[in-house]
Symmetry: C2
Subunit: 162 residues, 2 copies
DNA sequence: GGAATATAGTCGTTTGAACGATTGTTGTTA
DNA sequence: TAACAACAATCGTTCAAACGACTATATTCC
């Protein structure tokens, strides 16, 4: 009996290895993200808003589409995400003069300060959660996950059609 | 440059292998779950409500606490989850006579029929998503994910303290 | 036997996520 | 030059998720 089977209180084994792998991915994501959600909530953020700030800090001012493209997890309504960050003063928007469809979003000093305060705790939490695995295992885990995504017909890249 | 780094439009490499593994887990979970969310939505369900029905079909009538314990992803308000299923006629509740704190939840015939209609598509989607990986890879992926969860200080099991 | 504690479930409320439609602007084509 | 198509962002709306408090009941302890 696998660990997951035991954890789910399942008497019969999984129907397939693909099902078991899927459930392991989802449960592990929830386990890892739970800690980060608590950390971010303490700073009035969600995972996605934290991610958006990281993107803006790293890439510099970006359009809504670019932000959307770079998010780890697809967010279909980037406008509302940016709205919430702007309301807190962490980003500011500027409509482009040369193409008025486009809005350029930039992180503010307040946003930089907020992120600076999170850099340590985020890194510490990554370490705390996964440092019991060695470098080879982490590499192999990432490789298998990338391979899993490569074959999945449901795309991870945002906006791609079903 | 890893696949994920490229997919995220990140110029610099990841700060650590633990961060990269984490993001791969989360992104893969979203990619896999996206397809299932669409399938379930077409039947008026969410992943959690589908999961709850599966638990009840498998284990028989269960208390709310037992359902909560067996869910793949923690749901802090099982009552509302059961509310929504009951409103649709897929489950029914009965307050226990011998311990009136306890509610016993059972799947209904309508619930069984709904699940029966989903068994094929769910299995097909699992296969479609992950069948490009061989048995050894799937086993190794599950093993590494279980190991990842084992060391993470943020527990996957519900109700466990932070 | 009653007070205190624990358990199981429920509730009030807020908020973020998501879908799909809409609006405004730019580019393309006839 | 105007109609059409595409693009970028925004909006209306619904609803699931989540937090923490609350209620009712059972158990434990003095």
């Amino acid at each position: 009996m696998s660990t997951l089977q035991h954890q789910l209180g399942k008497r019969e084994p999984f129907r397939s290895a693909t099902q078991e792998a899927h459930l392991n991915v989802v449960r592990t994501a929830a386990a890892l993200e739970g800690g980060f959600a608590r950390l971010f909530r303490a700073h009035g953020l969600t995972g996605s808003s934290y991610n958006a700030l990281r993107i803006l800090r790293g890439a510099g001012p970006s359009t809504c589409s670019q932000i959307g493209d770079h998010l780890v997890v697809r967010v279909p309504d980037v406008t509302r995400l940016i709205d919430r960050l702007a309301a807190r003063g962490f980003v500011e928007r500027a409509r482009s003069d040369e193409d008025r469809r486009v809005v350029r979003v930039a992180i503010t000093d307040a946003g930089r300060v907020l992120l600076a305060g999170l850099d340590g705790p985020v890194e510490a939490l990554h370490t705390q959660q996964l440092n019991h695995m060695d470098a080879g295992e982490l590499r192999e885990l990432s490789r298998l996950l990338e391979k899993a995504r490569a074959g999945a017909n449901t795309p991870a890249t945002p906006g791609a059609p079903l």
